[in-house]
Point group: C2
Chain length 224, copies 2
DNA sequence: AAGTGGTCTAGACCACGTA
DNA sequence: ACGTGGTCTAGACCACTTC
């Protein structure tokens, strides 16, 4: 355990034991620096981690204070669907349903159009995730050469394309007739839907709508 | 924009423009330090942010390399339900449905028991979130004195209790008859369910199961 | 206005993992 | 075995925000 970890542990203990109650100011950096006998940078590193965790707040000239659970954030990690399925011990398979180039929309893909893909990811032969994928051919023209016949767009994107910004939306919906049939669930069965938009800088790269039968899938996040 | 931000921006540009393609090694710290004319710590800070964003990977003695979207993580921030409703411009109201102390389970709350609360959060008078809450009275004995009659457990927890670890699970389900009635949706209507377990160190603090009519609610996450 | 947190520098030592 | 990234120190200047 590094020194800044030790210092952070001790700070956590003080918060936990009520020595630094929620809402109270904690000692200034220089005080802590002397007390722990460490350099200022080391103390600051411990404090920064606590800020990331959402346990303390820092304001210039006003010191730092302990906060409650308000600003608790978690990390959401959505792995490759193949890895997700294989990590559960199931056999992964893939089926391309549709692939076509469509004209652009709303200023996205207006020059080269949009590559539109619909495909299915299966676990032990049973439908697990229905993927509606749109790829912007203005920013990713190489995608036009990808058949996506034996592996999905995800695999290719992960291997080739870096992204700086991802927006993920998680929602629930009742399965419409067509989707219900593809996913082999009753009509109006609950679905868990993950929608992701991916950007590189300001450039829009791709968009995915991933529908799962609710019984088979849930999203889990861990704290920072 | 601070120097480490400028350096990071330039690194992002190189990744974006393919000067540093996915899978390739990027220059060593000392090379970058010289090139940018900054201190090593500043370059390292820029690199650290890129690691957090999941854009590069670092391995001792082997250098750093650009990775694809595999390890993309997002930050999930679930605010106080009251703030969520008010930020949409609706009037928030609260109704306590049930409150009772139950014996502990699975080693959780085995001394003092568990405080079990069921309550409803409404937007403009319409049901928005049904909350099933369990509070561990071993770790949070003060909770036993809280009536939760006019404000929910959330408000109290946020004000009083810090947490170091939060596990969040997001799932979908069809509304059972009783829940459907409380939420004023048809039976079997899709629900978006957010479950959270909260810990301070190893100590289990509280657990919540938050059910929302799917039409009214979705979870959004942003990249780091 | 002043003191806090934020940033940056320059240097050193260390441990680990790959070559 | 050795060079890389990881950590820590000591010091300085700055800008913001509260007092």
């Amino acid at each position: 355990m590094s020194r800044h970890d030790e210092i952070r542990q001790e700070m956590l203990r003080r918060i936990n034991d009520g020595e630094w109650p929620v809402g109270s100011d904690i000692p200034h950096e220089m005080v802590l620096t002397e007390e722990f006998g460490a350099a200022r940078g080391t103390v600051r590193r411990a404090l920064s981690t606590l800020v990331e965790q959402g346990l303390i707040e820092r304001r210039k000239r006003a010191g730092s204070r302990v906060v409650g659970q308000t600003s608790q954030t978690s990390k959401l990690h959505i792995p490759l669907i193949r890895e997700e399925i294989e990590s559960r011990g199931h056999a992964y398979s893939y089926r391309l349903l549709e692939r076509e180039v469509k004209p652009g929309l709303h200023g996205i893909g207006t020059r080269n159009g949009l590559l539109w893909v619909r495909c299915l990811h299966l676990a032990d032969g049973a439908p697990f995730q229905l993927e509606h994928r749109t790829i912007n051919l203005d920013t990713l023209p190489q995608a036009a050469e990808q058949p996506f016949r034996v592996t999905g767009p995800n695999e290719w994107l992960v291997r080739e394309v870096p992204a700086t910004r991802v927006i993920t939306r998680i929602s629930a919906a009742a399965a419409e007739a067509e989707i219900a049939e593809i996913l082999a669930v009753p009509e109006h069965a609950p679905l868990l839907i993950v929608s992701r938009e991916t950007f590189m800088g300001e450039a829009h790269l791709t968009e995915a709508r991933l529908s799962h039968p609710a019984e088979q899938y849930q999203v889990t996040t861990l704290s920072i």
